[in-house]
């Protein structure tokens, strides 16, 4: 299956190892991975702050670029950006032609973990990682795309991993895009509940499906001097940490 990778701007600029891991895992799962260098951002920051003209301009670009990819699927290591692509249609109102194109693109766009399990039917990537990890349900993946069991299944099949459930794994980390800097005190107050749950779980890594949540959680963890490692699902599934050991 030919997959066009939408890495997202955050991953591209701030956390490229997530993109590298996603590409690696997808290829291990038998996909041909292509990457169109014209891609930048889905426009979500503008859309969520109310700037619909700006969001629409970026949405049009996205649609034009990925229509040309002729890939079977568009896969993104972000539930939030995937959900944004699914929202594109709302930006075009009565413009039937563009709405139709937006819907066609949305139908082919998948969140990384959900794509592996639900589209490829793969739930074991031959990964290995030592230690306890916990999963944080990123809000948009969970509530806009209904991704819940897929990442847990994928993680349980990583050799050497013990998956523990966080208290309130499905509650928000407080990021919320511009919310995190418009109301930083509230954002961090919400975040600290998540941090408490992570500390209580005594894990080596906190795993999620969005670089944005992981930067929020990770930024507080390092500020607190915690050793817990924020990790994207793709990074965990690409890990071959215990390769040298015999199982």
């Amino acid at each position: 299956m030919k997959v066009s990778l939408f890495v997202t701007c955050l991953v591209d600029q701030l956390w490229p190892s997530i993109g590298v891991s996603a590409a690696t895992v997808l290829q291990r799962a038998g996909c041909e991975v292509v990457f169109d260098e014209r891609q930048t951002c889905c426009g979500q920051p503008a859309f969520n702050t109310g700037y619909r003209d700006e969001a629409r301009a970026l949405a049009r670009r996205f649609i034009e670029i990925f229509e040309g990819a002729e890939a079977d699927a568009i896969v993104s290591p972000s539930g939030s950006c995937t959900a944004m692509v699914h929202h594109f249609r709302d930006l075009f109102g009565a413009d039937e032609a563009w709405r139709h194109r937006a819907e066609a693109i949305a139908a082919r766009t998948h969140e990384f973990g959900s794509f592996l399990v639900n589209v490829l039917g793969v739930d074991n990537l031959g990964a290995s990682f030592r230690g306890r990890v916990a999963w944080h349900d990123a809000c948009h993946g969970l509530r806009e795309l209904n991704v819940h069991s897929e990442p847990r299944r994928l993680i349980r099949n990583v050799r050497g991993v013990e998956l523990v459930e966080l208290d309130n794994a499905d509650s928000c980390c407080g990021f919320g895009g511009t919310f995190s800097v418009k109301y930083p005190e509230i954002s961090v107050a919400i975040l600290d509940n998540k941090i408490q749950a992570i500390e209580k779980a005594a894990v080596r890594a906190i795993v999620s499906s969005d670089a944005s949540c992981l930067m929020q959680i990770g930024g507080r963890l390092t500020r607190n001097g915690s050793a817990v490692k924020p990790m994207h699902l793709a990074e965990l599934l690409a890990a071959r940490e215990a390769e040298a050991e015999t199982f």
Binding site: F47, G126, V188, I190
Partner: protein, 511 residues
């Protein structure tokens, strides 16, 4: 004003200073501890209560369909309701806004020489600050719901739609009762409620009129339905000779049979109960002198901004709200700051949506941003209101300035020239991959002095002020610096395996 009573607590400002209010709330340890159990207690009770329903999703969908159908023909159902209620002996009044309602109620009471009033919990009366109007007219009014009475004694406003005194601790309530009722100091809940009961019973016996809200108005019968747990609404609406019910125009439903759906949804969503202790269906006045109930029933149908919400297909869904408060309990923001910070009697996610629509976006322009858009509110809403969609709609109105001059919006929407410029620049530059990539390279150079151990620590002082988002982020969290090489560079350079190297031997299991 009664000179013996102190001024209302002014700890929190109006909605326009939400940011300051929120900061104040976050450092109030008593409030934080009162809120700590809210999510857990109400969340668990709700989850248990909805598990006793076979098809919760189906119920939600039916409820929303009934609301949508009603709102699409609201004029028809309101007239039907008014006709049938009048036929049953109720007197119907139509009110444009809160001032009209306050004037009308004061007039009704004064014409009848009513000076002592008992009230049951009603968000509609809180919305229009009826108590202040009654007090100004010299009408002695007492709230009879225990929570509402507590905040009336404390001269505060409700901080939650269903549990108005949720922000108060038992100790604070005990101290309030000692100060206001002159009881002996105690922290025994039975003694406290006993004291409340003694005072309130006396007030019921003396009352000339009772004022209530309405949960549902049934068009086909002209009945109003009110739900409660304390029995005080039953007394408020049946003991005094006059009953005045204030009903927002969105409260009408077509048929008595529709209550089957809403009675399953509302108590479960609101308090996690399968059913409230009391459900009063009131249809007009008493029919003979031997009957119980008031001699006069007045139903006031209030618009107060609701027809404005009705006009737009996106905002219309705001009127489907049945005031259960489930979205407050589920909201991570509300859980941290409580209700008063919103500067409105409607707090939380639904408050952030309806307050700007009721009082004008210009007076509550921060509220639509007071959300991480996590969607927990939409998930618990018994009538499936897409609150995040509404928040985004309001944000777009502010960003585009399209709310200017609409309807009753008195204060112009403050546009944000800098933010607007930044987003225009972002959309322009990020539509040009070369510019986007070079922008990244320049930022990588600029960030260099700030990066320590692979992270950016606190950016304070002048730099933090020059770049407010970075200052706000790094005050409490480390920032992740731009990576030495972007993904696209790695890809281009063939460093993304297995482009430059053969694929690892696949060890893939399929389902």
């Amino acid at each position: 004003m009664n000179p013996e009573l102190p001024e209302p607590a002014k700890a929190y400002g109006p909605a326009e200073v939400f940011d300051q209010n929120a900061r104040r709330a976050l450092v109030d340890p008593q409030l934080r501890s009162a809120l700590r159990h809210l999510a857990v207690t109400f969340g668990q009770k709700r989850a248990q209560a909805i598990s006793s329903v076979d098809d919760w999703e189906g119920l939600r969908e039916r409820a929303r369909a009934i609301k949508d159908q009603t709102l699409a023909q609201l004029d028809k159902y309101l007239e039907q309701f008014a006709d049938n209620a009048a036929r049953a002996g109720a007197q119907i009044h139509w009110a444009h806004d809160g001032h009209d309602v306050c004037r009308l109620i004061v007039q009704l009471l004064q014409e009848r020489g009513a000076t002592r009033v008992v009230k049951s919990k009603s968000m509609a009366t809180e919305e229009i600050h009826l108590n202040a109007a009654l007090e100004a007219a010299g009408i002695d009014t007492v709230e009879t719901d225990l929570g509402e009475w507590i905040i009336q004694l404390a001269r505060e406003t409700p901080s939650h739609i269903v549990v108005p005194a949720i922000h108060k601790s038992k100790r604070q309530i005990a101290e309030l009762f000692v100060a206001k009722l002159g009881i002996a100091p105690t922290d025994d809940v039975d003694k406290l409620t006993g004291a409340a009961r003694r005072v309130l019973r006396q007030r019921f016996a003396e009352a000339d009129a009772g004022i209530s809200g309405v949960n549902f108005g049934v068009a086909e019968t002209g009945s109003v339905l009110i739900l409660e747990n304390e029995g005080n609404i039953r007394l408020t609406t049946s003991l005094p000779k006059i009953h005045i019910a204030l009903m927002g125009i969105e409260k009408v439903i077509p048929r008595l049979a529709d209550l089957d759906v809403f009675l399953k949804l509302l108590p479960r969503s609101g308090t996690g109960q399968r059913l409230t202790a009391y459900q009063s269906v009131i249809t007009g006045t008493r029919k003979s002198a031997a009957d119980e109930g008031p001699e006069e029933v007045h139903i006031i149908l209030m618009d107060n901004g609701r027809s404005r919400m009705l006009r737009n297909p996106v905002t219309r869904q705001s009127l489907a709200c049945i005031r259960c408060g489930a979205c407050l309990n589920a909201c991570p923001v509300y859980q941290q700051i409580g209700g008063h910070a919103y500067g409105s009697v409607y707090p939380g996610p639904i408050g952030a949506v309806i307050t700007p629509q009721l009082i004008g976006i210009g007076k509550a322009s921060q509220l639509p941003y007071a959300s991480s858009l996590c969607g927990a509110c939409r998930e618990v809403c018994p009538v499936k209101i897409d609150i995040p969609e509404l928040l985004l709609h309001l944000r777009a109105q502010i960003a585009e300035g399209t709310a200017l001059g609409q309807g009753q919006v008195e204060v112009p929407v403050k546009r944000k020239p800098l933010e607007s410029f930044v987003f225009r620049l972002y959309a322009w530059a990020w539509s040009r991959p070369t510019l986007y990539e070079w922008g990244g390279r320049v930022l990588r150079l600029l960030q260099r002095p700030a990066v320590r151990d692979g992270r950016i620590g606190k950016i304070g002082g002048v730099m933090g002020k020059l770049m407010p988002p970075l200052g706000a982020w790094t005050a409490w969290r480390d920032a992740r610096p731009l990576a030495p090489r972007s993904f696209r560079e790695l890809w281009r350079e063939g460093k993304v395996p297995p482009v430059s190297q053969p694929a690892d031997s696949p060890r893939i299991a399929t389902r």
